[in-house]
């Protein structure tokens, strides 16, 4: 352009595109900062008038409330209450994500079944749940199912003598022993089983025989678990009704059960739709090729269709995981002591609102970011390597 004789050598600044672009951006940024400054100055003014803390010192004050199902003492600082709330949030999210994925995948496959009844049942489930507000499900689970339909503790349901179901919660059989140890053993077993599976796959690739890697993996896992179970002397304990409560086993609080059940049901209906769409999106030729080499129906699904479908579904399912984690905040509506409930109560007890809720939001943001990092990592691992 500059070589053309007709253009002037120097462009005036108001016609200079680079200058204009930067001027525009700086104006936009200034506008945003002006807005933020306005909010901040209002905040300062209101704070100075009402003499409220603005920093995180409130975390050291005594909490003055107890957390049911937890040996949290009310003289402990607010900080510890937040930690307990955080752990509860993580607990519900973790279990919820696993259960919702399993249930959602099953329902998603059921919706594509050749069997009319199974198909209809899946469709009814998905369409019914997906179009209801989550809060309605949670309220229904809490008020309608747990508090009204479940029996009182005196005449609790005891299916198979293993579980105790009553409106004081559900007790399930659980092992006896230190909890951290078992978690470590399970983690180690998973890692070792994974490595064994990988080695089997490599061997099978070399020898050209069928691999059965997952069988070896599961066997290794079971072997490690059973042997360490015996070495450390763990045992199962079934819950028993004991007066106004239950002893033994693991007790799931009514609010935890209501929250977990509704989150799993709600999220699984969304995951089912994603799984269904992804299975339909797998190239038809893949299924036909599997038929052509005479794979059985379940082999075709397991080895050919599902791995490819999950590649397509991964980003959307990751979004559902994030939604589930954020939706655990609704536990506060039925007094399940997760992060939001802790924040709400401590603010009600006199902690300053803005710092407390900002802290809560930042924790959620952190959890979301870490989850999306993990999902993105798997997404990249699964993604098709293209030219």
């Amino acid at each position: 352009m500059s070589s053309l004789p007709s253009t002037p050598a120097k462009v005036p600044f108001y016609r200079n595109l680079t200058a204009l672009k930067w001027a525009f951006q700086i104006a936009a940024v200034l506008l945003v900062f002006a807005l933020l400054y306005w909010l901040y100055s209002n905040y300062q003014e209101n704070i100075s008038k009402s003499n409220i803390q603005t920093d995180l010192r409130f975390l050291d004050n005594p909490a003055n409330f107890t957390i049911p199902g937890n040996d949290f003492d009310q003289s402990q600082p607010v900080r510890d209450a937040f930690v307990q709330g955080f752990l509860n949030t993580i607990r519900v999210s973790f279990v919820g994500i696993i259960l919702a994925t399993i249930l959602g995948t099953l329902v998603g496959i059921a919706r594509l079944s050749k069997n009319f009844m199974v198909r209809t049942l899946g469709a009814v489930y998905v369409e019914l749940i997906r179009n209801l507000p989550l809060l309605l499900l949670i309220t229904f689970m809490n008020l309608g199912v747990v508090l009204q339909a479940f029996p009182r503790i005196e005449d609790a349901w005891v299916p198979l003598d293993l579980f105790v179901v009553s409106n004081r919660g559900i007790a399930i059989p659980w092992y006896l022993g230190p909890s951290g140890q078992l978690a470590l053993i399970i983690l180690a077993a998973v890692v070792i089983a994974f490595v064994v599976g990988k080695i089997r796959v490599r061997q099978a690739d070399k020898s050209g025989k069928q691999d059965r890697a997952w069988l070896y993996g599961i066997l290794t896992f079971a072997l490690i678990l059973i042997s360490s179970w015996m070495i450390f002397g763990y045992s199962f304990e079934t819950p028993l009704v004991d007066g106004r409560g239950t002893t033994g086993g693991l007790r799931i609080d009514p609010s935890l059960f209501a929250l977990l059940a509704s989150l799993v049901i709600y999220t699984s209906s969304h995951i089912a739709e994603i799984v269904r769409g992804s299975i339909l999106a797998v190239n038809k030729g893949q299924g036909e090729a599997a038929d052509a080499i005479a794979l059985s129906g379940s082999q075709k699904m397991r080895l050919i269709i599902l791995p490819q479908a999950f590649r397509i579904a991964m980003p959307a399912i990751g979004n559902q995981y994030l939604n589930l984690i954020k939706n655990t905040s609704l536990g506060a509506t039925i007094s399940y002591f997760e992060l939001t409930q802790v924040a709400q109560i401590t603010v009600g007890n006199g902690s300053p609102a803005v710092p407390a809720f900002t802290l809560t939001l930042l924790v959620y943001l952190g959890i979301s970011l870490i989850t999306s990092l993990v999902v993105n990592y798997f997404n990249r691992r699964l993604a098709l390597v293209e030219r």
């Binding site: 069997n115 939001t340 924040a343």
Partner: protein, 393 residues
């Protein structure tokens, strides 16, 4: 029939087993539901509280304004739908009716149910008025095609049909104080106002995130990611206890104002991601063609890429609207807005109904309204998706 059964129900032994299992489960659920609806359900609680569930404490003498607004909205939509279609393949009357029944059957059934629950002459009359409004809209649309009205530009036609509804809605708002609104009306109002307000912000954020200007891009990205990482419920709680710290003392926001603010700011971030997806789906050639014609960047965006992007993501936008519609229930718990779910729980605590275990009845009614609304919208969105052929290309 027998071949169908053999193929779809009893293909193999496991298949037959599954059929019997899921069939009995399905039958059990349907049986329980029917029994609940027709035998065990005590629906007086809904009948007595029907008005408060639908419109809250809206003043009785002003309800006619709401009725008129609904009629105007129905009329406008019906006229626009009639006038919008250019050519239509010739269908037999039965097919046409069947299609209409499939599309609107659920809404009609719900309307009939509400009229039956209302049980007085006025609600029945209102039902007829709605049908009349639909018919009048169709006729008005047909008139437009045949007469000089067809020379009107598209925007004027839209304006003619939208303006009466909008002005009636504004009159209703100005006549009755917002605190007197409640029930389902509030859910609808919150959802519609928030989606309308978040639109400009969402589109701006989407453009900002795809802009070549780094500062704008960073600002938009930061906003979108911050909001998307936060739970809506916590934001609503925060607005409930902390909003007054950030605005001058002279303004005292009411709960509805707070919830509209949060819903708008929240949905804008999600809408921005949807619109961004739409912008990414537009082939580069479109913008390049614009450049070749010598259009400025602004013109290319607003006349070429953005309209196509917005059209392509209409189904996703409806999905976002549905989830916003369902999320309006959160305003009830977080900010004590008197919305449907809140009303539904409150009526079970009335003196006449306290402690009778009527949670099922009230939640079933609340759930029905939400379910019908969401299901209808998602079906319509699927229809639009097919019409646009978005998934096919």
């Amino acid at each position: 029939m027998i071949t169908w059964m053999r193929r779809n129900l009893f293909r193999s032994i496991t298949d037959s087993f599954l059929t019997i299992l899921s069939g009995s489960l399905l039958l059990y659920v349907v049986w329980q539901a029917l029994q609940f609806i027709f035998v065990t359900g005590r629906w007086e609680i809904i009948q007595v509280n029907l008005k408060i569930l639908l419109v809250g404490r809206f003043p009785d003498e002003l309800i006619y304004l709401l009725g008129l607004s609904i009629l105007a909205i129905v009329f406008g939509i019906s006229a626009l739908a009639a006038g919008g279609r250019g050519t239509r393949e010739h269908k037999s009357l039965t097919l046409l009716l069947w299609g209409l029944l499939q599309r609107f059957g659920l809404l009609i059934a719900t309307g009939v149910l509400l009229i039956a629950l209302g049980g007085d002459q006025e609600s029945l009359l209102f039902g007829f008025y709605v049908i009349a409004a639909v018919a009048a809209g169709r006729i008005f649309g047909a008139i437009r095609k045949r007469t000089a009205l067809s020379k009107l530009p598209g925007w004027a036609w839209v304006l003619i049909n939208v303006l009466p509804a909008l002005s009636l809605v504004f009159i209703s708002i100005s006549q009755a104080a917002l605190e007197e609104w409640g029930g389902f009306l509030i859910n609808f109002y919150l959802a519609i106002v928030s989606i309308a307000l978040c639109f400009p912000l969402g589109v701006m954020l989407a453009l900002g995130r795809r802009s070549a200007l780094p500062l704008l891009r960073w600002l938009s990205t930061a906003y979108i990611e911050l909001i998307r990482g936060a739970p809506l419920f916590v934001l609503l709680l925060l607005a409930g206890v902390a909003l007054e710290f950030f605005i001058p003392d002279s303004i005292t926001p009411d709960p509805i104002f707070r919830s509209v603010t949060v819903f708008t700011l929240f949905t804008a971030a999600y809408l921005a991601e949807i619109v961004r997806g739409g912008l990414q789906s537009i082939p580069k050639g479109q913008a390049e063609a614009g450049k070749a014609l010598g259009m400025s960047a602004t013109k290319i965006t607003f006349l070429i890429t953005l309209p196509q992007a917005l059209r392509n993501v209409i189904p996703a936008q409806i999905g976002q609207f549905i989830s916003l519609f369902k999320d309006t229930t959160l305003a009830g718990v977080a900010l004590s807005v008197f919305e449907l779910l809140n009303v539904g729980s409150a009526i079970t605590k009335q003196d006449a109904f306290l402690g009778q275990g009527l949670v099922y009845e009230s939640l079933a009614f609340v759930g029905l309204l939400f379910w019908v609304g969401s299901y209808f919208m998602s079906r319509e969105s699927q229809r639009i998706e097919k019409k646009l052929g978005v998934g096919i290309r």
